[in-house]
Amino acid sequence: MSARFQAALHGARDTIPMLVGALPFGIIFGTLAVASGLSLGATLAMSLLVFAGSAQFIAVSLVASGAGLAVILLTTFIVNLRHMLYSASLLPFVRHLPQRWRVPLAFWLTDESYAVVQHHYHDAQTPMTHKHWYFLGSCLAMYSNWFACTLTGALLGHALPGMAGWGLDFAMVATFIGIVVPMLRTRPMLVAALVAAVVALVAHPLPYKLGLMLAALLGVAAGVVAERLNARERLEVADEQL
């Protein structure tokens, strides 16, 4: 087995917990899309071509509520803006790759693969050479899983129309909790999370999910400020000890 293939397999394997979390989410997307009046072809095409879980979710609920195309596209833009933050954080690791790598890796960049891949890039124990193959493996696992779940959900949606109310969307909440909580090891990280949480709740009534973006930006800013204050405090303690 070549080292590249092994790295891709490793990436897919590390993504398995994310697949488990995305499974119910993808199935419920399929059922909801069909219930909101989208055709089977459009439902599958959306998962194949857009490949952005939360934006797809919001889009089909907007379709169901009769929103216009412009509103749905604007909402997609704002909900997905967070991916620009992800690509910014991964850019230092992929900028050496040719475009034929950067195009597909950008297309397949999701919350889940980002969480797995950025962790791997920051792991100094493994050599950098094949990390883009790991990235690719994680993406392919998420992509095929998402398509299979959408298909299952769309078919089940015809058979079991009440499925949308089962609460399967809680799987996404549990997955994200499992990603975030272990990262809250330092005080600035905790501050970033607390500020993001409070702003997300307070700003939730804002249109087009703008509250999400505002909460993310203020959370990031709060983390940076807390880190700087922390560093200064440590310097002062060191001064007193001298």
């Binding site: 398995i16 917990p17 979390g21 055709s39 459009a42 095409a45 959306m46 071509l49 857009v50 490949f51 952005a52 934006a55 889009a59 596209l73 997609t76 833009f77 997905n80 803006l81 991916h83 620009m84 933050l85 992800y86 910014a88 954080s89 991964l90 850019l91 900028r95 950067r102 195009v103 950008a106 297309f107 969480a115 950025q118 969307d169 809680f170 909440v173 549990a174 997955t175 994200f176 909790i177 499992g178 990603i179 975030v180 909580v181 272990p182 970033a192 999370a193 500020v195 949480a197 702003v199 997300a200 709740l201 939730h204 999400l212 993310a216 930006l217 959370g219 990031v220 983390g223 940076v224």
Partner: protein, 111 residues
């Protein structure tokens, strides 16, 4: 597919890919200052928390439900405890889902 569906999917696909690709496309022409690099470290925590907390507190997307019959809130809190104690993703998803469904089943009888 209707023409609305074609426009919807083409539009969403272009917008999503554009957002994900624009910085990757620029490659070496983009360099981040130390401040931006430092800030990027807080992105996953801030974004994911901003998705999680409203989903727990307002599961219907409309009003706050800080009550015991809100299974999203209780299930989420239990998932947080599991994640903090064991730092294991699969255990958090499995335990959280189990707590969510059990609580919802119990709450239907109790409240």
């Amino acid at each position: 597919m209707s023409s609305f569906e074609v426009a919807l999917i083409a539009g969403m696909a272009l917008i999503t890919f554009g957002i994900r690709y624009v910085l990757f496309a620029a490659g070496h022409r983009v360099r981040f200052s130390p401040l931006v690099s430092q800030a990027l470290g807080y992105v996953p925590v801030a974004v994911l928390t901003a998705i999680i907390v409203p989903a727990m507190v307002m599961p219907d997307g409309q009003r706050w439900q800080l009550s015991l019959d809100n299974a999203y809130l209780i299930g989420g809190l239990i998932a947080i405890l599991i994640a903090a104690r064991w730092r294991n993703l699969l255990a958090t998803i499995g335990g959280g889902m189990l707590a969510f469904f059990l609580w919802r089943w119990l709450a239907q009888g109790l409240f």
